[in-house]
């Protein structure tokens, strides 16, 4: 009888292993079936999540059922993607989402219009890696420098740290990181040339962003801009004291250096037309912004010395001579009004802001209003200019204003200002600047044949205009908005253009990260009480120049963060976002099946997050009850966690509800490996966990003990952060305690000559290293020593598996916990003759045995028969281990691969490659030779003894 069977999956015939399930058959043939509870290392199906639905035509007719527990049989027809299946899968996922608590991403990122990974870059900064932070920011926007200076930082409004005391200084942190990077900026690779070209009209934040992302897709990009220099409103709308031009110039130059062409002083609709551009380019991207100041229909608005806010700022930047007299009235209280008022103040003028609503209702940020006040600007709230008085000859002389009071809420929800009849007030003024808003110049767009709606250019959900091949984003389509809104918008539009150029615009939809739509679970219910136990650590504010000083010139007012301050401030981050964000299956499936958090709603239990374990965070609110951890711990013969309660109340938790940290299991990490969500999450060995998207760095053998389990290493920027098993499991010693803290390269060259050197090597020393060390020692008349074990295994893995009865000492399992998985538990007995023992028995009888070893190459060094270190030494070279106690040596050199091992008593410390960086051979405790492979790039020499002549 053949052990193969033919099944039809989605119309194709496949040969599959006969004894498997439908899910196995699909997996075997690379057909995707979602599942949350099927783990490949456990044979028996669990059948809990009910997500792996398929449609099967077989002996029972055609039914939709779970694939994990349906055995294969002859003549099965399987369909994996019918509407009914997808609906069923979505329904299961929505039910799971309805009991899920927590935030997939932190509220700061959810609020960010460009969806920057705020938690991620703050973590990099806290970890002392600002350049990594910038790299992360540059995945989403090229405008790190500009945003660091001039973003209105809506993220801070949502920052949950304010429920403890104050939000994190997120913008200032970004500024710090971006300016660390400023002179030698990290630059992404530009791939091969696609040969397609795009004309971008308007080189402001949207245009520059589109240029950056389209260039990174390999397209040729030309920016056309009407102004003498690029930057748009970032240059002409934002004053220098907020966004210094030299910083902006650097950012723009960095973008141009990617190979972006720019033509300035070219006005759209005058010097160039859409027709011409379409001729030259494969696609056109319109990002002309919103440059027209709004004027209110107020009497006297046409008098000399009445300006539009944005016009004033542009003229000022262009260095034009603007006559505003001495007394300036600025109308409006948005951020542009602040820029206008503060610029006028820097011109030495007496400035008053008139605003028809109250201070609380002002759209300008509190920070800017406070700074403006510090600089001596007067605010007249509930004051509505009704008439600008003056004459054609002498211009403005005064402004008559009505006093207002707050009435019923208007459409925007703010209380409507209502005029108090009869109350009027007059202000003397030489000029009036109306900073009440601006809009795109729609007439020009219409002349070019573009369709507009009211004040903005119309685009569809794929950012396409009414004209073929013409796309648009930024202020011109959104109306006037911020840099961060424009850059987020333009990034997605750039991807749409790229899709268009690749002929797949139909398939394009804004990416999942863009404005973080439905797939992200979040918790709105948090409040101050939830954070009552937190230590109050005040926000570190960036130092500003003194108001008296700063009004004297137009230079930057922010004085920057020092590294220590930036780190300290970033450490305040609460890490609201889920650590499993990049690996969570539930989130992935929610995205794939369009399952929404709102699909099913109802009561949720509130669970305490258990942080008692040193390496694992347990968050029951994220548990999907898949039982993977319960079954995995049972596999180890343990019961670290279990199902408790019944019905909707069911949870998985440690016995008796104890904290996870109370367990003495050394296999807890494998439970986190099995967890498909963030319910059991390992905390990476860094100050702040991120989370970051980890790269697979390679695979090698774990050096946590003598078992040498095959392991995959994941990390970020050449820093190893996570070990995962290649097959089977890793223990906590391997997973969490063996990741080295890498020792940085030092240019030390030892020169000790003509001395007798004794070498004391760790039991992790490879054969190759041991040979070299031996040669070195013997060359000086010394010797190579090691604490080799009394005995090593006399049998191998196969015999262990086949043994009739096995005797185990607890101590052995504490040294090599994974042995638990290799011992069939049904065979565990008390000590007897002719059995395999896992540690050497104390009895005189010597049956075959396996000896657990702490040292990765203990077996190998035992075979080399190395002697014990004598008490007296002249020069002692301690290799890759702690300096032994009670040893006398005149001079001690310590070679270390892990910064945590550096000893204070060493006379010299020489860094060497850690086990993740080196090549070499070891013998595991079964006597099998395995070859270590370097997975981390190292600057240290391959041969540790090549550091000069010792």
């Amino acid at each position: 009888m053949s052990d193969k069977i033919t099944v039809k999956i989605d119309g194709e015939e496949y040969e599959c292993a006969k004894d498997g399930s439908v899910l196995d058959a699909c997996r075997e043939n690379g057909i995707f079936i979602p599942t949350l509870c099927e783990i490949e290392h456990i044979e028996e199906p669990f059948g809990g999540c009910r997500v792996c639905l398929v449609e099967i035509t077989g002996p029972r007719g055609t039914i939709v059922t779970t694939s994990c527990d349906t055995p294969l049989s002859d003549d099965l027809e399987i369909r994996t993607e019918t509407a009914e299946i997808i609906e069923g899968r979505r329904s299961a996922i929505e039910l799971l989402l309805s009991e899920h608590t927590g935030d997939c991403v932190a509220p700061c990122s959810r609020e960010c219009p460009a969806s920057l990974d705020v938690q991620g870059y703050l973590a990099h900064i806290a970890n002392g890696m600002p350049r990594e932070a910038v790299k992360l920011i540059k995945e989403q926007t090229p405008l790190a420098l500009s945003l660091g200076r001039a973003c209105f930082a809506p993220c801070e409004e949502e920052c949950r740290r304010q429920m403890v005391e104050e939000p994190i200084s997120i913008r200032q942190e970004k500024q710090y990181a971006a300016e660390v990077d400023i002179n030698d900026p990290w630059t992404p690779d530009v791939p091969y040339d696609t040969g397609k070209s795009i004309g971008i009209v308007g080189g402001g934040p949207a245009g520059l962003t589109a240029a950056y992302f389209l260039r990174l897709k390999g397209h040729r990009v030309t920016i056309y801009d009407m102004m003498p220099e690029l930057g748009g409103m970032m240059r002409y709308g934002i004053p220098n004291y907020r966004l210094p031009k030299d910083i902006l110039d650097k950012e723009i130059q960095w973008i141009l250096d990617l190979g972006v062409d720019a033509k300035t002083d070219v006005e759209f609709g005058e010097d160039i037309h859409l027709e011409d551009l379409k001729e030259v380019h494969d696609a056109v991207f319109v990002s002309t912004g919103a440059w027209e100041s709004w004027m209110i229909p107020i009497e006297g608005k046409d008098l000399p010395r009445v300006y539009g806010g944005i016009d004033f700022l542009i003229d000022h930047t262009l260095g034009k001579d603007i006559d505003i007299g001495e007394k300036v009235m600025v109308v409006g209280c948005g951020n542009t009004a602040m820029d206008v008022a503060r610029t006028a103040r820097r011109m030495g003028k007496d400035v008053t802001i008139a605003y028809r609503r109250s201070a609380e209702q002002a759209p300008a940020s509190d920070e800017e209003m406070r700074e403006a006040m510090e600089e001596g600007i007067r605010f007249e709230y509930l004051t509505n200019p009704e008439k600008i008085c003056g004459c054609e000859m002498n211009g403005v002389s005064k402004v008559t204003c009505a006093r207002m009071e707050l009435g019923e809420p208007d459409a925007s929800g703010r209380a409507r200002p209502v005029k108090i009849e009869g109350e009027k007030v007059e202000f003397e003024a030489d000029s009036v600047i109306l900073a009440i808003g601006q809009s795109p110049e729609v007439e020009k767009l219409e002349e070019e044949g573009l369709q507009v709606e009211k004040y903005t250019l119309s685009v569809n959900d794929k950012f396409a205009t009414n004209l073929e091949g013409v796309f648009a984003a930024g202020d011109v389509t959104l109306g006037p908005c911020s840099i961060v809104e424009c850059t987020g918008h333009a990034r997605e539009a750039a991807f749409a253009v790229d899709a268009y150029l690749s002929g797949v615009l139909n398939e394009y939809s804004p990416s999942e990260d863009y404005r973080l739509p439905f797939g992200y679970i979040h918790t709105d219910e948090k409040d101050e009480e939830d954070f009552a136990d937190w230590n109050r650590i005040p926000r570190l504010k960036m130092q500003l120049r003194h108001p008296d000083e700063r009004v004297k010139d137009n230079d930057a007012i922010e004085m920057g963060f020092k590294p220590a301050i930036a780190i300290q401030e970033a450490e305040r981050c609460l890490e609201c976002g889920c650590l499993d964000r990049f690996m969570c299956k539930l989130k992935d499936y929610a995205d794939i099946y369009g399952a929404s958090q709102e699909g099913q709603q109802g009561f949720k239990y509130e669970h305490e997050i258990d942080e008692s374990h040193p390496w694992i965070i347990r968050d029951p609110g994220k548990c999907v009850l898949c039982g993977s951890c319960v079954r995995t711990t049972e596999e180890h013969g343990e019961g670290v966690v279990q199902f408790v309660h019944r019905g909707f109340q069911t949870v998985v938790e440690p016995a008796f509800g104890d904290p996870l940290g109370d367990t003495d299991s050394l296999m807890v990490g494998s439970l986190a490996d099995a967890c498909p969500t963030g319910a059991l999450e390992e905390v990476p060995p860094s100050n702040k966990p991120g989370p970051f998207e980890l790269d697979k760095m390679g695979d090698t053998y774990c050096m946590g003990c003598g078992l040498g389990c095959p392991t995959v290493v994941y990390g970020n920027d050449n820093v190893p952060l996570r070990l995962a098993p290649v097959r089977g499991h890793l223990c906590d010693i391997g997973k969490f305690q063996s990741i080295p803290k890498l020792v940085a390269s030092q240019d030390k060259h030892g020169t000790i000559v003509d001395k007798k050197i004794n070498v004391y090597a760790s039991l992790n020393t490879t054969f190759e290293e041991a040979e070299a060390l031996k040669e070195l020692a013997e060359g000086t008349g010394g010797e190579l020593y090691a604490d080799i074990p009394d005995k090593v295994s006399t049998v191998g893995r196969e015999e262990l598996l086949e043994a009739e009865e096995i005797y185990v000492e607890d101590e052995a399992l504490a040294i090599s916990p994974v042995l638990k998985d290799l011992i069939p538990r049904s065979k565990l007995v008390e000590w007897k003759e002719d059995v395999i023992s896992v540690v050497a028995p104390s009895s005189d009888v010597e049956p075959p045995y396996v000896v657990a070893q702490a040292g990765a190459n203990a077996y190998g060094l035992y075979e080399m028969n190395l002697p014990q270190l004598p008490e007296q030494n002249e020069v002692l070279l301690v290799y890759d281990t702690d300096i032994p106690e009670d040893i006398d040596a005149k001079y001690i050199i310590q070679m270390v691969s892990d910064a945590r091992d550096i000893s204070k008593t060493a006379d010299a410390v020489i860094p060497i490659r850690s086990w993740l960086e080196k090549e070499g051979t070891i013998k595991n405790l079964f006597g099998e030779r395995v070859k270590l492979k370097p997975v981390v790039d190292s600057e240290l020499p391959k041969n540790p003894l090549s550091i000069g002549k010792v």
Binding site: F46, G48, R50, S91, L95, G602, F643, G647, F648
Partner: protein
């Protein structure tokens, strides 16, 4: 014939006071030095009349019901000493027999209420263990299986799988070690069939299991019985002990090569442990959680060995079938399903109790002829069959024969035999809510649809009973229900929506009333009703003193008034009013 006295001593009798009656009876008889044997027997079925005393004298059988301690002396003096029955306490006599048993046919309950369940001698005297002797001496295992197949016996646990076929699978499964399990994890609210059988005639179950073990080739077995059934457990213990003494159980049964043992496993009362795979996990010492099937227990069951699980009632049928023949058994019941079914008749019924009728008997006969009709002669509204996994059937199904197929078609299930009758005062939305609340809490928590889905359904039902439901809610509860039914892992989840689906099917207007009219016509859902006192009030003040929130005021002799602001709609005033002056709207 000597006069003998039987006293109903099952849980129902004891709960009604049989203990005190028994003591009084014994003491009076001893006092009068009468030579009369008193036997404690199991439930005879008339739970509504407990405590019951049966006197068998030369004139026939006299049954006294609702006997109180104060009645005992008179019964002893008049009937036992003077030979004059006490007419006013009699519910059945040779002259006028009780019609409760008219449509009933006793196979499973043949000994219940008749023999002393704690005395194997009584069982043997009534023909007990004859079937076992016959099987061991005259029949091959396959002949036994064929006999059961021919009897048309189907599993009485609920799903109705043909028992003979099930045995055949287990017998055919390769393996030397096989198990038998008796599922006595009766968990439906309002169901007490299994308990009564175990309390009234434990040997019938034991004998059935021993015969099954012989047929299948099993040498070991478990009875999984909930710890809340202490009397059943005690009588099983005694039964097993006595069967072993008599050589019916243990090594070399009746001198043959056949050996078999029975263990009792006390369950902790999780409803889901009635599901066979969960039950096996529980016996193995694991958490009672179902696992996917296949593999079925016949292939891979308890401790990974081929296992045959049957319900208490199924096992109790076996000795009768062997003794009387498959043909005789199959002649009772319907063409597709032989024999009788025991029902626990409860709810708004005049004569609740244990009922055994041929399969195929119409509901009307059970409810009206046996049960005596609706309590207080109110209007019949619905009957819930099969417990929380079953469905509610309306009046138009009263003449439907009760068998597996028709009930399934109607949206209910035979289940293990719970039958709860509802009248016009029952709100069907609330009934559905009650059963769903039960299954929701009893879900093992393993699979998504059952654990979360039933909770979300329950929340929607809550909206209805609170008057805040919407039309979309009806759609979404239907969607959820059909997904839960289709995609849940085990029978618990797959059947949990049945009460909601059947009430939606037969009583949908009540749902609409709750959301559109904001009324609960049965006057059950508190948020939707108001209590008012009409001018029929005689001012007796009883409602005012009963009211827990002091919401009722009024002078003695005057009409009382309920302050709606303080009324919590507990209904206490309604229940206590002697003149029915409290109205519910």
């Amino acid at each position: 014939m000597n006069t003998k006295v039987l006293i109903g001593y099952a849980s129902c009798g004891i709960a009604a006071g049989a203990g005190e009656v028994d003591r009084a009876l014994r003491s009076r008889i001893a006092k009068r030095s009468l030579d009369i044997e008193i036997t404690k027997v199991g439930c005879v079925g008339m739970c509504h009349n407990e405590p019951i005393i049966e006197i068998h004298d030369p004139n026939g059988v006299y049954v006294y019901g609702d006997v109180e301690v104060s009645d005992v002396d008179e019964i002893v003096e008049s009937h036992l000493v003077e030979g004059v029955p006490v007419e006013e306490k009699l519910i059945s006599s040779p002259e006028e027999s009780y019609d409760y048993f008219d449509v009933q046919e006793k196979i499973v309950l043949r000994n219940s209420g008749v023999i002393d369940p704690e005395d194997i001698g009584d069982y043997i005297d009534s023909g007990g263990y004859e079937a076992l002797k016959k099987v061991l001496t005259e029949m091959s295992p396959q002949e036994v299986i064929d006999e059961i197949k021919n009897s048309n016996l189907r599993g009485r646990g609920g799903a109705g799988f043909p028992t003979g076929l099930k045995w055949q699978f287990a017998a055919n499964a390769p393996g030397d070690e096989k198990y038998i399990i008796c599922n006595a994890d009766e968990g439906d609210p309002g169901a007490f069939m299994d308990r009564s059988i175990l309390e009234g005639d434990p040997h019938a179950v034991l004998e059935g299991m021993i015969i099954g073990a012989y047929a299948i080739g099993a040498s070991d077995s478990y009875i999984y019985c909930r710890a809340e059934y202490p009397l059943a457990l005690k009588r099983l213990d005694i039964g097993i002990e006595q069967a072993k003494e008599k050589g019916f159980l243990g090594e070399n049964i009746l001198g043959t090569d056949f050996s078999f043992d029975i263990h009792i496993k006390e369950g902790a009362g999780a409803f889901v442990c009635g599901e066979e795979t969960a039950l096996m996990h529980s016996i193995e010492g694991e958490r009672g959680m179902p696992r996917p099937r296949p593999p079925f227990p016949a292939q891979k069951g308890l401790f990974g060995k081929p296992t045959n699980i049957n319900n208490v009632e199924t096992w109790a049928n076996i000795p009768w079938i062997i003794r009387n023949g498959a043909e005789e058994y199959a002649s009772i019941g319907t063409e597709r399903s032989g024999g009788t079914k025991v029902f626990a008749l409860a709810g708004k019924i005049k004569r609740g109790g244990l009922v055994e009728v041929p399969i195929g008997t119409p509901l009307r006969e059970i409810i009206y002829n046996v049960g005596g009709g609706i309590d207080e002669d109110l209007e019949f509204k619905a009957v819930q069959l099969g417990g929380p996994s079953g469905g509610c059937l309306p009046a138009e199904y009263l003449d439907t024969p009760v068998d597996y197929e028709t009930l399934t078609e109607a949206g209910a299930i035979m289940g293990s035999g719970g039958m709860i009758v509802m009248d016009e005062c029952d709100c069907m939305v609330n009934v559905a809510r009650y059963f769903l609340d039960f299954t929701q809490k009893e879900s093992c928590g393993k699979c998504t649809f059952c654990r979360v889905g039933t909770k979300r359904m329950l929340e929607i039902l809550d909206k209805f009973t609170h008057g805040s439901g919407t039309l979309e809610d009806i759609e979404s509860i239907k969607n959820l229900a059909s997904n839960i039914k289709a995609y849940s892992l085990c029978g618990l989840g797959q059947t949990a929506p049945n009460p909601v689906l059947t009430t939606l099917r037969y009583f949908e207007h009540e749902y609409y009333d709750h959301l559109q009219e904001q009324t609960c016509s049965a006057g059950v859902c508190r948020e939707l009703i108001t209590f008012t006192i009409t001018d029929a009030c005689v001012g007796c003040t009883r409602c005012a003193s009963e009211c827990p929130t002091e919401a009722i005021t009024g002078e003695r002799g005057e009409q009382h008034v309920i302050d709606q602001e303080y009324c919590i709609k507990c209904g206490a005033c309604h229940d206590v009013c002697p003149v029915n002056a409290v109205e519910v709207d």
